[in-house]
C-alpha cells in the first residue's frame, strides 16, 4: 500500500486487524465511551500541539496566498506601489513572449526529465533488488548524487563540464567536433538540465526499491511454474504491484520538476541563456519579482503556476483511480 497523500487523506475508521492500528481514532469506539472531561483534555492537547502549525499556516501560507492573489490583480511595484487593474496582468501575460518561452522550456523539461528519470531509477532499482553481496554499497553509492544534484556546487560543475572549452567540448573536439559546449547550444542546453535531473535518480530509486521488496515472491514462483518470460513477469506482476509507488513517484517528481529553480538560475541566469533555452518558469517569476520589482505581475505568473500544477495533480489522481492497483484493498 502506498503512503501517498491519498492514503493519509482518508483516515480509516475502526479498521480492525491492521498491525499498525488505524492512524486516526474513529468517532465510534473508545473515544465515544470516555467522559467528556477526557475528550476535552484531548481536544485541548490537540490544539496546543497544533499551535505552531496553525500560526505558520495562517501567517506564512494562507495569508500570503490570499495576498498574492490580490496582488495578481494589481500593478504593484516594490518601490512605486500599485493599484487594482483587474484582469490586466492575466491578459498581458498571454501576449508576453517571455511567458510563452518560459512555459515552453518548463513543459519540455517536465515531459522529458520526469519519464527518463523514473525509467532510469526503476531500472537501477530492479538491478539492486537482489540478494547479493555488496548491495548496501551500491544502493548508497547510486543514491548519493541525488542529495547534491540540485545544489549550486553541482550546477557549477555542470557548467564547467558542458560549457565552451569545457571537458565535453575538449573531448569531442578530439574527434573533430566543432559545436562547442552543449550548454552554449540553445537546441540542446535544456537536455543538460534533464541530464542533471536524471543524475539525481537515486531518490525515486530508493522508493522503488522499497516497493520491489514488498512484492510477494510467490507471484513470481507461480509465474515460473506457468513458464512466463521475464518480460511478461515484469509487465503482469512487477508493474501492477508497483503501481502505487510509481504513482507516488510520478506525482512528486512532476510537481518538483515544475518548480526547478537553482540549477536553471545558475546555468542560464535570469535570461535563460543561451537564447532563452533555459528560461524556466520559476526563474521568470524570480526575475520579475526581485529584479524588476514587478510584484503584481509576478504574482499573476505564480498563480498560473499553481493553476497548472493543480490541474496536472487532479488529472493524475483521476488517472490513478483507473491505473493504480492496490493489492489487498477492496473498493479502490
Amino acid at each position: 500500500m502506498s503512503a501517498s497523500p491519498s492514503t493519509a487523506a482518508e483516515p480509516k475508521t475502526g479498521s480492525a486487524g491492521e498491525a499498525g492500528a488505524p492512524p486516526v481514532r474513529g468517532p465510534r469506539g473508545a473515544a465515544k465511551r470516555r467522559s467528556s472531561a477526557v475528550r476535552g483534555g484531548e481536544r485541548l492537547a490537540g490544539y496546543t500541539f497544533m499551535i505552531p502549525w496553525l500560526v505558520g499556516t495562517a501567517v506564512l501560507t494562507i495569508g500570503p496566498m490570499a495576498w498574492s492573489l490580490y496582488l495578481s490583480f494589481t500593478d504593484y511595484h516594490l518601490i512605486r506601489g500599485g493599484d487594482w487593474i483587474g484582469m490586466a496582468n492575466y491578459t498581458a501575460i498571454f501576449q508576453d513572449p517571455m511567458f510563452l518561452r518560459a512555459v515552453k522550456v518548463t513543459l519540455l523539461y517536465v515531459v522529458i526529465a520526469v519519464p527518463v528519470k523514473l525509467v532510469a531509477s526503476l531500472f537501477v532499482a530492479m538491478l539492486l533488488a537482489q540478494q547479493r553481496r555488496g548491495m548496501g554499497f551500491y544502493r548508497a553509492a547510486f543514491y548519493m548524487p541525488s542529495l547534491i544534484a540540485m545544489s549550486v556546487g553541482v550546477a557549477l560543475i555542470w557548467k564547467a563540464l558542458f560549457s565552451q572549452d569545457g571537458t565535453q567540448d575538449r573531448l569531442m573536439s578530439a574527434f573533430g567536433w566543432d559545436g562547442g559546449g552543449f550548454l552554449g547550444n540553445p537546441s540542446v542546453s535544456i537536455l543538460m538540465l534533464v541530464l542533471l535531473a536524471v543524475w539525481s535518480f537515486g531518490a525515486p530509486m530508493v522508493i522503488f526499491l522499497a516497493g520491489l521488496m514488498q512484492v510477494p515472491q510467490e507471484l513470481y514462483e507461480a509465474a515460473d511454474v506457468d513458464g512466463a518470460s521475464k518480460w511478461r513477469k515484469f509487465l503482469h506482476i512487477t508493474l501492477p504491484m508497483l503501481s502505487p509507488v510509481i504513482f507516488f513517484n510520478v506525482l512528486m517528481e512532476t510537481v518538483g520538476a515544475f518548480q526547478l529553480f537553482g540549477p536553471a538560475y545558475i546555468i542560464g541566469g535570469e535570461s535563460g541563456a543561451p537564447a532563452w533555452s533555459t528560461l524556466f518558469y520559476t526563474v521568470r517569476i524570480y526575475t520579475l519579482a526581485f529584479t524588476d520589482f514587478r510584484m503584481g505581475y509576478a504574482s499573476a505568473y505564480a498563480w498560473l503556476l499553481v493553476l497548472a500544477v493543480g490541474i496536472v495533480t487532479v488529472i493524475m489522481f483521476r488517472a490513478a483511480k483507473r491505473l493504480v492497483f492496490y493489492a489487498g484493498e477492496d473498493g479502490r
Partner: protein, 295 residues
C-alpha cells in the same frame, strides 16, 4: 531484471559454482562500470581541483599530471577578504536551526494529527496534504513583503522561521508514517496508568520516534545546506552569505579565470553533505523507504 526468490534459490535453477562465480564477477564489474559513469562528475571535480588552471582546460584525463594544493589554499581565503570558514559557519548555523525547528515542530504536529481527536483535524490534515503539492513560489512575494516590513531581511529569520512552524509538510508526513507503526495500545496503556497526552508524547512516543528524528534531521540539514533561493532573496550582505550564495558570487567574480579555485571551493562545499550521508546512510535509505511506502 532477474528476480531472485531467496538466497541460493534462483529462478534460473541450479548451476555450477564456477559459472556462478564468473557471473557474479561479471555482474559486479558491470555495476562498477555504471557507477563510474554516474560518479564521473564528482571524480572530475576532485581531479580538477588538484590541477593547475592550464591543465584543467588542456588535460582531459582524470589523473592530474602535477598535483597542486594551491586551489585549496585559495579557496580557504574565501572571497573579498572574508575567510571560507565564515561561510561554512553561516551555512551550519542556518542548517542547525532548521534541523531543531523542523524536528520539534513536525513531531508535535504529526502527533496531534495522527493520534488525537479534535474538531477541525480533518480540515487541517487536508491543508497539510495540499501544501505538500503547492508550489511555494506563490507565497514568496507576500512573505518577502512581510519580512521586509518587519525589517527582517538580511537576517536568517525568514530562512528558518517556517521550519519552527511545521511548514515542511513532507516531514509532518514522515512523522505520521512512523507514528502509524507504533501500536496504539501503548498510548492506551499509558492513559490507563494516568499519563496525559503530553506525557504520552514526550515520554513514550518520542523515544520510539528516534528513526524519524534522525531521518528528518539528515534531510533537513542537507536541504537547508543546499538551499539557494531563500538566501538569494533574503541575504544581501556577503558576511552573512551561506555557501551556495558564496559559490554563486565567486563564480561571477572569479569563475571564468580561476576554474581550479572554483572547483576546490565547490568540492569543499559538498564535503559536509557527503560525510553526513556516509555516516548516516543506513538510517537515511530506510527512512525514505518508510516515508514513501508504508513501513
Amino acid at each position: 531484471m532477474t528476480v531472485k526468490t531467496a538466497p541460493g534459490h534462483t529462478i534460473a535453477g541450479p548451476r555450477r559454482p564456477l559459472s556462478a562465480k564468473v557471473k557474479s564477477a561479471a555482474w559486479h564489474a558491470s555495476m562498477i562500470a555504471v557507477l563510474a559513469i554516474v560518479l564521473y562528475p564528482l571524480l572530475w571535480v576532485i581531479a580538477s581541483s588538484l590541477k593547475d588552471n592550464v591543465d584543467i582546460i588542456t588535460d582531459t584525463t582524470l589523473w592530474p599530471e602535477q598535483v597542486t594544493w594551491e586551489h585549496f589554499a585559495n579557496a580557504f581565503d574565501g572571497l573579498a577578504g572574508i575567510p571560507l570558514w565564515r561561510f561554512f559557519w553561516n551555512s551550519f548555523l542556518i542548517s542547525a536551526l532548521s534541523v531543531v525547528g523542523t524536528v520539534a515542530s513536525s513531531a508535535i504536529t504529526a502527533y496531534a494529527l495522527a493520534r488525537l481527536q479534535f474538531p477541525g483535524r480533518t480540515v487541517m490534515l487536508g491543508i497539510v496534504i495540499a501544501t505538500l503539492l503547492l508550489p511555494g513560489q506563490v507565497m514568496l512575494i507576500p512573505q518577502y513583503l512581510i519580512f521586509s516590513e518587519l525589517d527582517l531581511t538580511n537576517t536568517y529569520i525568514p530562512l528558518v522561521i517556517g521550519k519552527f512552524l511545521a511548514l515542511d509538510a513532507f516531514f509532518v508526513f514522515l512523522f505520521m508514517q512512523f507514528l502509524r507503526g507504533i501500536p496504539r495500545e501503548l498510548d492506551q496503556a499509558a492513559t490507563i496508568d494516568g499519563a496525559g497526552h503530553y506525557r504520552i508524547f514526550f515520554s513514550i512516543l518520542l523515544p520510539l520516534l528516534r528513526p524519524a528524528v534522525v531521518t528528518t534531521s539528515i534531510f533537513t540539514f542537507i536541504w537547508s545546506w543546499n538551499d539557494f533561493m531563500g538566501p538569494l532573496i533574503y541575504i544581501y550582505e556577503m558576511e552573512k552569505f551561506p555557501l551556495p550564495r558564496l559559490l554563486q558570487a565567486y563564480s561571477n567574480s572569479e569563475g571564468v579565470s580561476n576554474w581550479g579555485g572554483m572547483m576546490a571551493m565547490t568540492l569543499l562545499s559538498l564535503v559536509p553533505v557527503v560525510l553526513f550521508f556516509l555516516v548516516f546512510q543506513k538510517f537515511l535509505i530506510k527512512g525514505i523507504a518508510t516515508s514513501g511506502v508504508k513501513g
